[in-house]
């Protein structure tokens, strides 16, 4: 790499870190890293945040397809649950307990599923793509339920806490110490690495290729882009990172069932998070995952009709703020700037 590129890179990073949103992001990362040590945070808050981060990985990955490639998938539960189940079954049938072995296994499972399901689905677009993804992921759900002697059926599989780099932290520190001192940080790390990688991918020539396909498949072909093949690649990238989210969810939850990770409603939730956060923005779905899980957590405590609350929120977002949380923030930021300018002029 030339020195020019290095300087250019440094300037871009410096510039983006000194903007208000860059500072806010850096602040959030610091806050996230310090969370378990903040006064007043207990196991529940750490668990909830870790859950948000696990889903945020999957929601951003989902948006690689919806926001960047223009493909709506209703089958992401297959990647999320596929990786979670791969981890669960390995734990059930082998002696492997190591996080750094389980994670690659989960990712590999999601990748294999994405390669196969994606290959079939990308032959079609729009509603047919969505429905094929739905059908194939539902197939995985049914197979998992039916093969109960192998998979545990609807009871699912327990996910005992893994060792990390060979150390059994649960035995040493107890579960709460493991969650707040090790697992939480593993999930934060997985989140940061996944988001960074996906950001690079979406800002690379590959990402621009996907956006070209999203905006005009005919144009993409006319400039030599094999559209179907790149839709497939996008599905694989999306599936792999959704798998990372799935592994983290499984480890955090300590148990997976077909209903919690493979059911089609899980795919719907990822779509919900992406839309809630804003599909037009790279970081939007992270906010979407946060808003969704906090909202659901509150709504569940408030009423047993929490589905109704969630449905109402989705309705309101789609009608009044289609750009989601990201759109709200952008608009608020612009308003604030205008106000500041006005004050200055006065």
């Amino acid at each position: 790499m030339s020195q020019d590129t290095d300087t250019g890179k440094r300037t871009v990073i410096q510039d983006s870190l000194t903007t208000p949103s860059g500072l806010a992001a850096a602040g959030l990362v610091v806050l996230g890293l310090g969370l378990p040590y903040l006064p007043g945070t207990g196991q529940f808050e750490v668990f909830l945040t870790a859950q948000i981060l696990a889903f945020a990985i999957a929601a951003v990955a989902f948006n690689v397809l919806l926001g960047y490639t223009g493909l709506l998938s209703f089958g992401h539960a297959a990647f999320f649950g596929g990786s979670a189940y791969a981890v669960g079954l390995v734990l059930r049938y082998t002696e492997i307990r190591e996080l750094f072995v389980l994670l690659p296994i989960g990712i590999l499972a999601a990748a294999v599923l994405a390669v196969i399901i994606g290959y079939i689905s990308v032959r079609h677009t729009e509603v047919y793509y969505a429905l094929l993804m739905l059908a194939l992921s539902f197939l995985l759900y049914v197979v998992t339920v039916k093969l109960y002697t192998f998979t545990g059926g609807t009871d699912g599989v327990p996910i005992p806490s893994p060792t990390v780099a060979g150390v059994d932290y649960v035995a040493a520190w107890g579960y709460s110490g493991f969650l707040q001192g090790v697992l939480y940080y593993a999930i934060v790390l997985a989140f940061l690495v996944s988001i960074a990688l996906m950001w690079v991918f979406m800002n690379s020539p590959f990402g621009l290729t996907l956006k070209t396909i999203r905006d005009s498949p005919d144009r993409a072909r006319a400039i030599g882009i094999p559209v179907v093949r790149y839709r497939w690649y996008a599905t694989i990238v999306s599936g792999v990172f959704t798998g990372v989210g799935g592994v983290m969810y499984a480890l955090l939850n300590g148990h997976v069932t077909p209903g919690t990770v493979l059911h089609w409603s899980r795919s719907g939730e990822l779509a919900f998070m992406a839309v809630l956060g804003g599909v037009g923005s790279f970081f939007g779905p992270i906010a979407g995952a946060g808003a969704f899980i906090l909202l659901r957590s509150e709504a569940q405590q408030l009423t047993e009709y929490w589905h109704f609350v969630m449905g109402l929120v989705l309705f309101l977002v789609v009608v009044f703020e289609p750009a989601g949380v990201a759109g709200l923030v952008k608009r608020g930021y612009r308003k604030a700037n205008e106000l500041i300018d006005e004050r200055r002029r006065e």
Binding site: T5, G8, K9, V12, P205, T212, A222, I223
Partner: protein, 249 residues
């Protein structure tokens, strides 16, 4: 050097023969206008060249190789590039991103995932240069959605040119553009193509533009070749006058 040659190229839609055994040759550097009344098969002919439609019979030879079975994107990569009658640009992307996407595609870098475009300058410089050549340089960071129709047509061509075509097929480059601007677009194109040895094939209804910009004219009627020669010869041909120019009056 012959860039493209068709031999007995035919396309049937059920009973209708839209393109009827066309033999056609274009040399590099040539600018050829295609004329014909509505329904003459001009667009079908062009679609057969670019791979949008599959021929019923006959073959297309491009740069010495048969294009039998080659997909649209494959032909584009080999240098047979088209522009669109209704401009096809990426509305949510800036003009710079639009052209850069084509540049990167030509460089076979679509799959490059680990280089961030924000700090990558070669493809940006080339895209900016192209936009400036076509008079869009000042608006490089504007989203394509916001520019007027005529400029979208130029952007459409600019993206095609970024592929460094051996043959560029322009499907009515000035349709839907105000008369005053038609010459502006054609002048820019002519100026650009004088600097390359790319062949250009353009469909056009405006006989004035044909007479002014085409070096050779290929006239079609009912799927067949009607005439092929210099603009003077073809435009004064009695059948062409009756069948094609007659409609204009």
């Amino acid at each position: 050097m012959t860039v493209l040659e068709t031999r007995g190229l035919t396309k049937e839609f059920g009973e209708l023969t839209a393109v009827d055994s066309i033999d056609f040759v274009i040399e590099s550097g040539e600018i050829v206008g295609v004329i014909g009344p509505n329904g003459a098969g001009k667009t079908t002919f062009v679609n057969l060249l670019t791979g949008v439609l599959e021929a019923t019979d006959g073959e297309v030879v491009f740069a010495g190789e048969s294009l039998d079975g080659a997909a649209v994107h494959d032909r584009a990569k080999r240098g047979l590039v088209r522009s669109f009658q209704i401009p096809q640009v990426c509305n949510d992307l800036t003009l710079l991103e639009n052209v850069r996407s084509a540049v990167l595609s030509r460089e076979q870098r679509n799959g490059s995932m680990f280089s961030v475009l924000l700090w990558e300058d070669d493809s940006r410089a080339e895209a900016i240069e192209l936009l400036e050549t076509f008079g869009l340089g000042e608006r490089q960071n504007v989203e394509a959605e916001t520019i007027p129709h005529g400029d979208k047509k130029i952007l459409d061509v600019c993206m095609s040119v970024a592929m460094r075509p051996k043959l560029l097929v322009l499907d009515e480059p000035t349709s839907g553009v105000a008369t005053d601007n038609k010459h502006e677009i054609m002048d820019r194109l002519q100026e650009y193509f004088e600097t390359t040895d790319s062949a250009v094939l353009f469909i056009e209804h405006d006989m004035e533009l044909i007479a002014q910009y085409a070096e050779r004219v290929f006239a079609m009627d009912q799927g067949r070749k009607l005439a092929d020669g210099t603009p003077e010869e073809v435009l004064e041909d009695s059948t062409v006058k009756r069948r094609i120019r007659g409609e204009e009056q």
